[in-house]
């Protein structure tokens, strides 16, 4: 919308060049951070992760807004498609929290799984209410 054919042609070319450039930057940064380019240079994983995530989001923005023309759609359409994806922010926070909880509790879970339980002490039916059995279990 609002672009002549020649304008949109050069805009597409510009966008693909930026996308390619960011991809090369990403790969170089990853290789540098992991110590492949200069011996002895290592970045912490969180730094690599943040830089990679930011660059990927920029790439995603370019693909959605330029290639998929979201920039030129009416705001109502853009909002109905883009706002729901914000739900994923919570999904990421919650699940990563869960994942690290699993890691931190791996030993405890293993220990409990290996614990031998005397079958006669297992609460059954109504006996569940008896406090001393509950304690033994």
């Amino acid at each position: 919308m609002g672009h002549s054919y020649e304008e949109s042609k050069s805009l597409a070319l510009k966008t693909i060049l930026i996308l390619g450039g960011i991809t090369i930057a990403e790969v170089l940064f990853a290789l540098l951070g992991k110590g492949y380019l200069i011996k002895g240079v290592h970045f912490p994983l969180w730094l690599i992760a943040i830089v990679m995530i930011v660059m990927s989001i920029v790439k995603a923005y370019l693909v959605v807004f330029e290639f998929m023309h979201m920039k030129y759609e009416v705001p109502a359409l853009a909002k109905t498609v883009l706002l729901p994806t914000l739900l994923l922010v919570w999904g990421i926070i919650a699940f990563f929290q869960e994942g690290s909880a699993w890691r931190n509790n791996r030993d405890v879970v293993k220990e409990r799984n290996e614990k031998v339980v005397d079958d006669s002490l297992k609460p059954q039916g109504m006996l569940l209410e008896l406090p001393e059995l509950k304690e033994n279990y």
Binding site: L31, S56, V74, G99, W102, R103, R106
Partner: protein
């Protein structure tokens, strides 16, 4: 344009534009529904990728991607990330050719649409070819499967044992990855695919020689047998022995263990699901390209909207790859 602003003004005054009979989103039904389909698909992929991240952070160790994905066709190893970067460029390029096809459609240039769509199809097919090679390397060369992950990670520094059981000078640090080779590799020596013998234990220096596998007589080992320097399990995976040289278990002799099972399942499932999207995209591209060539959309006089909808899907596949690339390979 003048009438457009008039309508926009009207929208702000009342909500008449939503009363019916108009298109408030200024988009056709088909295009709008393509957007909402892609939104739902984005949630599916996000679910998979979040599952990958969750399982990865829940494990004490995880295969290092630059170690797992370091091969190139032609028997080149120790080239971390290069092959997937090529794959990324192939897909980016096909996205660009798709944009050009849509632009040619906007000005009703049938020939232009067909040419750029053919280039897009070639790009998509090339990407699928790359993926097929990558999967073949992992499955046939490195013996990874959905349930078995021969890529492990050392949790403490140590040194491998020599053939006679003495400690060798082949040392490793905590966090280094290894690939467990297979005894009696059933298809050894087919063509250029020597993935079996890449320096399995050295993610970082990589200069410890290729083909150490042969020096250990890997291909003469028998299944389900214990050797002074390795244990071969009943499926033929060689668990090399090493002496730990730091930490709680200093001095203990241990054997290499499989890496987290979930890695293989997640890798094949997520890249497979993405590859399936690419495959169906290529099929639809071919169908729509043939329709364009036959003049079907020319008659509709709607600036080749079908090509535009196809473009949305194709860019989405590229968009997903950006995140698969991020999650699987870059971090």
């Amino acid at each position: 344009m003048g009438s457009d602003t008039a309508v926009a003004h009207h929208v702000e005054d009342s909500n008449a534009v939503w009363d019916g009979g108009k298109s408030p989103m200024k988009s056709s039904y088909g295009k709008l529904m393509m957007w909402y389909f892609l939104l739902s698909d984005a949630f599916t992929f996000a679910g998979f990728l979040i599952a990958y991240g969750t399982l990865r952070v829940s494990m004490p160790t995880w295969p290092v991607p630059d170690f797992v994905f370091q091969s190139l066709p032609g028997g080149i190893h120790n080239a971390p990330l290069i092959f997937v970067t090529i794959m990324t460029f192939v897909l980016l390029f096909s996205s660009f050719t798709m944009v050009r096809a849509v632009q040619e459609g906007k000005r009703e240039n049938k020939r232009g649409v067909v040419i750029w769509m053919i280039l897009t199809i070639i790009g998509g097919a090339a990407f699928l070819g790359c993926q097929a090679w990558e999967w073949t390397t992992l499955i046939k060369g490195e013996h990874m499967s959905v349930t078995t992950n021969p890529f492990g990670t050392h949790t403490a520094a140590g040194a491998y044992l020599n053939k006679d059981g003495t400690v060798s000078n082949e040392t490793f640090e905590a966090g280094e990855s290894y690939l467990m080779h297979m005894a009696h590799a059933d298809d050894h020596g087919h063509g250029d695919d020597h993935a079996d013998d890449h320096g399995g234990d050295h993610a970082d220096d990589g200069h410890h020689e290729e083909g150490h596998a042969d020096s250990y007589g890997v291909y003469n080992l028998e299944k389900s047998k214990d050797y002074p320097f390795a244990t071969v399990d009943e499926r033929g995976y060689i668990h090399r022995k090493f002496k730990v040289t730091e930490g709680d278990e200093d001095g203990m002799v241990k054997t290499e263990q499989f890496g987290p099972k979930a890695f293989g399942a997640l890798f094949f499932f997520i890249t497979g699901f993405h590859g399936f999207h690419v495959l169906s995209g290529v099929i639809f591209l071919i169908i729509i390209m043939l329709n364009v060539a036959s003049g079907l959309y020319e008659k509709r006089k709607n600036e080749y909207e079908m090509v535009e909808k196809m473009g949305l899907y194709w860019h989405f596949v590229d968009l997903v790859w950006i995140f698969v690339f991020l999650v699987f390979y870059l971090i």
